[in-house]
Symmetry: C2
């Protein structure tokens, strides 16, 4: 073990080595401890010091930051784990990344990246000398500086630890299809109380020991949250171990550092356990490779119990601080208040013996970094943790070859998602190791499945029985009834350079609102970090949408994810509402090629008329919105009397039907029909890169004519996107207004005044004078609404006229389908 | 055991009885089975039958519904559990409610409510005769009818099973402070894969065996979801049992019904286990009452493994259906397609022997309902499950006695939440059994704690150590690091007639977006159900808000929960932005008195100037918004030149400062300062009950003058709320635009152009001609912004001018506080 052990500079196939039982040498233990002291020193320094970074002169108040921010409590434990894994990486040539659940221990990971040399490589203003350390300290949690958490700015991180709960989901997502990767995933015992984390332990029921990498979960049991003990620290040890056996792991419990226990003893204890664990992993990997592994692999995990805030002053102002919640943030918050407190901080810093750790210039001495690997083996420099570096674009066949025939609008009909499934099956076939589909038990229900399952299976590591269909040890479809797991796995997969999509219920995608927030923020920040390379976009496919909850009703109706998404940075978010098979294909082709976005695609799975052929779909998707001249009554050179606009599949059909009724009944009315497929087109060009210029917007929507806009979601969103437009006061939006129950699709649109009849009434009411001229038509429309509901309430089906709605009489919408939407 | 066993008509203190080891008699087993057959028959009938409800004539195609919707798979298991619990309730006089996690098994609970007689009591059109059964069948999942899930419409339910994951959180919430209540909580094995459910097993670490009731979790392991096996069904049995031991339960595994096993045998097996479990519960209750219980109670739970779709045709069209995912929804979806399929449905229905279950008129025979308890002991009629029936209004002291002195605006300053805490401490003291505070480890951080902890403790059933502070076996504060658990517990607590509030981080309340959706939908529906009585409002207190994430930065900044909430029914949602101690007190007084709302309150916890004294706060809160005449320059009888409006604590202070700068520098400018504390006031009166009339709106904001609106959250929301207002085109909103990192509060407002200097610039730019007249002032403002940032970046603190901002020089904002915001 020395610094001159050569480590490969590029990621290579690592061998999962069994090290044997030889104890770690005293010298190695000493080097581990030296690294740990250096990392701890650099961590404390970041929290407290504005100047005098190496304590070359006595510490004064002016050396201390005016506002002390950050979190010490978890940091020494993280540094401990990093130091020990460094030793193992060197010895076994492991290809390792870290995931830090307690990500508020940011100073620790920054410290290690500095010791690794990575920090100075990516940030040219942070040199490996005293001035560099001064800058490193000052920037931490400082205006204009770096966040206090493990963040996009932290080399080696793919996981912002701000919001808790997703460490293991991200870790497993990173491990899928990375057979030689070891993901060290630290789970804080606070985080362990969250729901997403509690279920993510079960991710081991999907990992394949041959095709996928390894996750080593380390539960860091330091006993306290911000103001409370943690639950897992306050249950009997037999329950604790039973819990992790029950989760299907082989748990190793290591405890140390309490009551001033000698650090070397704790190092030796942990090093031995880590060796056992890595040996066990090597054995599983070997037997899996040899085909001799029986049943599901029982992977090891570690429970590390150390004092919170380990190595800080045990008692401050008469109160116990180390090993209590008081060490959570800044243990010595009053370091500037009295000379005694300043002295205490100085002696704490000096307890790490900085004079042994840094040379004259302030560069870490050889001993301090001897344990660290070099090149790409450094956890802070592993290219997998900068996913864009290892990302390969997907091989995609021309979607137009999978498009459906549309001789005229509505002449054919399809389940759009099933057509998409045919194309996705080829994406899977052509990209067998870097593309996956994630979903909460809904791939079949969303009708991607028949074609997709001709190419692949659902991956599952649990017991598989003969009755099961399309379930196998390996497969490209990942299903678990947890939106959190789907999202977390996919994020981890994307952040390490791969591709995928997440299909889910529109209403229940709100379950991951907060995860989306964090990912969108991550993307926004990484766009501004030059060394972070673009990763594949996060793609949603929301197919069981608000208008078609026939099996489920009101509780399954919520189109507000779009509203949630558009609050995030315009650089990052895109929303698409394709309305038929070809527009859905085109949309997804675009999504799978794009990088650094979140693409939200809402598209029905029910049989619906196809409106555009392949060429028309290309043209329409390129513009993102456009006039359906065939569906309105345009008079060349003249402005329309009214604009009927739609976004979404059901609204588009209702608008077409309304236009047909209007054309039939009002011979002289100039009607423009507009469809918006890229919702961000509505926004001002100064607010969103996709936004239309005012001139283009006015050319389509007019500056002064009534616009009746039938929208898929909550109507207010359209106003929020268009409030700056000239013609906004003439815009009238119909959408979902929280009116619905278990009912037919047509009754749903009527309850929310989005049906064709009501759209006609809207036109009559908004075009000056029209309502009076066509009072009979208005009454007919009112009657039609009443009759349709009466019919539905007596028969339980849509009225035939409605069910057989067609564009020029050619096709039915088909509402009689009972196919599964959800449990 | 017979129908004439008298059960109490009102909920009384039940005794937790030990029944001894005597086996259940054959006659009782027969009656359980008879009830079960009746419930199953009524369930199948709901899914399939439009007519001929008792099969008095041969079944024809016309008797079958045209669209078959609903879920059979879980239903027979739910009916089985209901039947068996009925027996136990009668024998032990148990006070029991049910929570059905697999709530899509709606037909089962409707069937039992009908057999209980409850259904006919609350729905006068559903009599206990053939016509009543016909109506019962037809309405199910039918236009104008009832939802397919266990829903607000279902008597006895407090839990809509549409979105999965919250069964146990709701169950424990119901059990808190209900010492004699048994909550039978069925968890589906699909639901068990969700994150919220996975962590909610740990709720037993909070339940007190003396003060609280009992939750009996029953994991219904029927093996399949909509299209996949379930994880917990596919792990080895020793892992399964270890998992629940690890969760701290004593698990009982019961398996039966496979391969045509005799039903009586399964009944006998389950009845024996249920007796053991209830005996064990009685023993725990007895020892806890006697004070002899050592350590945390290890409560029993049941794992019931039965075939999915149990008792449906095992094979349909050559495919195995029973005990597979194919039984999830409608197993015989083609019942109308061929005569053979219709016959198969008929023979399935007849397998329950309806001729033995209903008399000539169609009323259930005595044997069919002998096992059911009567009166309030019926699970479908327990008043606790209609919380408004048992709700008592809180005893609230006059908040004005707790108000702070405000001799003039800004003359004093307080942490508003700490002042609220003083009052909440009295709420706790005066309402010791029906009010709780829930939070994810943040009660102290949100500064309610010092006063609150002088009155109560945090409840915890895990190990308590001497070092712990304010933690006890019983207490009114419930802390767990899971927003899902906090929300679920509180919902369960409110739905059973109690009161509470949930304090959390503003950004991370998005974690429960989807739970909020479900609760808001529940409230909306219950408002329309006459027999559902109003429950206490769900109150949020979001104190660590977007502008003050000094410890955490960008990942902790998201004010979008308000946007999410306002999409829900206006009848249900309320949003308040109090800006100082007295307005916060007044707001919470209102919230704790209100019913059937969701109240979102966003209010800072940092020291801030008090602006209104008690009387002024009353007046301002009564109006919900108003003009701060003291803060502007109003000329009586004249319209202002510009309106400076604010909603939120930080924006209000910035607006005050901007007004001060403008008054100092532009002597003749008529400035109106407006504060909006009830956000829904901005909306049109036709859209929200709180909405201002256009006349009132125009009187405050003018019809044509520039309005510069400084808003707490995403600026677009203000446009969405006001787009119909006459003066909307003159409205310019500043808010949070996803710009932030770890920085000082003042730098935060500058990054988002919400600072006083930028507001002054906005005024100069929007009031015609003003910018040219005051070009120097404009330049000064630009310079001030630059200087402030330069200062912050070099020193790490706000510039003194800013830190010491005051209204007429009297008080400081105080930004130097490092007190804990979060990990």
């Amino acid at each position: 073990m020395s610094t001159d052990v050569a480590a490969p500079e590029t990621p290579a196939q690592s061998v999962w080595k069994h090290r044997g039982d030889a104890p770690v040498s005293d010298e190695t233990i000493r080097l581990i401890d030296t690294y740990w002291r250096a990392a701890n020193y650099l961590s404390v320094g970041q929290i407290y010091l504005l100047d005098n970074p190496l304590l070359r002169t006595p510490l004064t108040v002016d050396d201390i930051k005016p506002r002390l921010l950050g979190h010490w409590g978890t940091t020494p434990g993280l540094n401990f784990l990093y130091a020990h894994m460094n030793r193992a990486i060197q010895e076994r040539d492991l290809n390792t990344i870290y995931i830090i659940g307690p990500g508020h221990g940011g100073p620790g990971l920054v410290a290690s990246a500095f010791l690794d040399g990575t920090y100075s490589e990516v940030y040219s203003d942070i040199d490996e000398n005293e001035d560099g350390i001064r800058r490193l300290f000052k920037q931490f949690s400082f205006p204009g500086g770096i966040p206090s958490h493990v963040a996009p700015e932290t080399p080696g991180s793919i996981h912002e630890g701000g919001e808790l709960g997703y460490a293991l989901s991200h870790a497993y997502g990173a491990a899928f299809d990375n057979p030689d990767l070891l993901v060290m995933a630290v789970v804080g015992d606070g985080e362990a109380e969250t729901g997403p984390l509690a279920t993510s332990w079960h991710s081991n029921k999907w990992l394949d020991p041959v095709q996928d990498g390894v996750v080593l979960p380390i539960l860091h049991l330091n006993g306290y949250k911000i103001a409370n003990p943690t639950v897992l620290d306050r249950i009997p040890q037999d329950e604790l171990l039973a819990l992790f056996r029950g989760y299907g792991y082989h748990p190793y419990l290591v405890e140390g550092g309490f009551d001033g226990e000698d650090h070397a003893v704790v190092h030796r204890r942990y090093a031995a356990v880590l060796d056992n664990v890595l040996n066990e992993i090597a054995e599983i990997k070997a037997s899996a490779a040899a085909g001799t592994l029986e049943g599901r692999a029982v992977w090891p995990m570690i429970i590390l119990r150390t004092p919170k805030g380990w190595t800080c002053p045990p008692i401050i102002d008469g109160q116990q601080v180390e090993n209590t919640w008081r060490a959570h943030q800044v243990p010595l918050a009053n370091a500037r208040d009295t000379e005694a407190h300043t002295k205490l901080l100085e002696s704490w810093l000096k307890s790490y013996k900085p004079e042994e750790l840094f040379d004259e210039d302030g560069k870490p001495v050889a001993d301090a970094v001897a344990i660290a690997p070099s090149g790409d083996r450094r956890m802070s420099a592993n290219p997998i943790a900068n996913g864009g570096l290892v990302r390969h674009a997907l091989r995609l066949r021309d979607w137009r070859d999978f498009g459906v025939d549309v001789p005229s609008p509505g002449a054919t009909s399809n389940e759009a998602t099933r057509v998409l499934g045919e194309w996705l099956a080829t994406v899977i076939a052509d990209n067998p190791t870097n593309f996956r589909i994630f979903g909460p038990d809904e791939t079949a229900s969303n009708r991607l499945a028949p074609p997709v399952y001709e190419t692949t299976d659902k991956q599952f590591a649990g017991e598989i029985r003969p009755i099961d269909e399309h379930i196998a040890r390996v497969g490209r479809v990942m299903e678990v009834l947890s939106e959190h797991q789907c999202e977390g796995w996919l994020e981890g997969y994307l952040l390490t350079g791969r591709h995928g999509l997440f299909t889910s219920y529109e209403a229940f995608i709100h379950i991951v609102d907060s995860m989306f927030n964090q990912h969108a923020k991550w993307l926004k920040v990484t766009r501004e970090i030059p060394w972070r390379r673009p990763i594949s976009s996060l793609n949603y496919l929301l197919s069981s949408h608000v208008w078609r909850q026939d099996h489920n009703g009101f509780s399954h109706q919520d189109p507000g994810f779009i509203d949630h998404v558009v609050n995030k940075s315009a650089d990052v978010v895109r929303v698409y509402l394709p309305f038929d098979a070809n527009t859905l294909l085109s949309t997804y082709d675009h999504c799978l090629r794009s990088v650094n976005y979140v693409n939200v695609v809402v598209a029905g799975k029910q049989p619906q008329p196809n409106l555009l052929n392949v060429d028309q779909a290309v043209a329409h998707m390129t513009r993102g919105l456009g006039i359906f001249e065939w569906a309105g009554r345009e008079v060349p050179g003249e402005s329309p009397d009214v604009v009927l606009a739609a976004a979404g599949d059901i609204p588009t059909l209702e608008v077409l039907a309304a236009s047909e009724i209007l054309q039939k009944n009002i011979p002289d009315l100039k009607i423009r029909v507009v469809n918006v497929v890229d919702l961000m087109k509505l926004q001002d060009e100064s607010e969103h890169p996709h936004g239309l210029s005012d001139r283009d917007y006015d050319a389509i929507f007019t500056r002064d004519k009534p616009v009746i806009f039938a929208y898929h979601g909550y109507p207010w969103l359209i106003h929020r996107l268009t409030y700056r437009r000239t013609g906004h006061s003439q815009l009238h939006v119909r959408g979902y207004k929280e009116e619905g129950t278990t009912t037919t699709p047509f009754d749903m649109v009527m309850r929310n005044d989005l049906d064709r009849y009501h759209l006609v009434i809207d036109v009559l009411d908004r075009v000056p004078g029209l309502g009076e001229r066509y009072a009979t038509l208005r009454q007919d429309m009112t009657d039609a609404r009443l009759n349709a509901r009466l019919f539905a309430y007596s028969k339980g089906e849509d009225i035939p006229e409605v069910a057989n709605w067609s564009w020029h009489g050619s096709q039915s919408i088909g509402t009689g389908d009972t196919g599964g939407d959800n449990e």
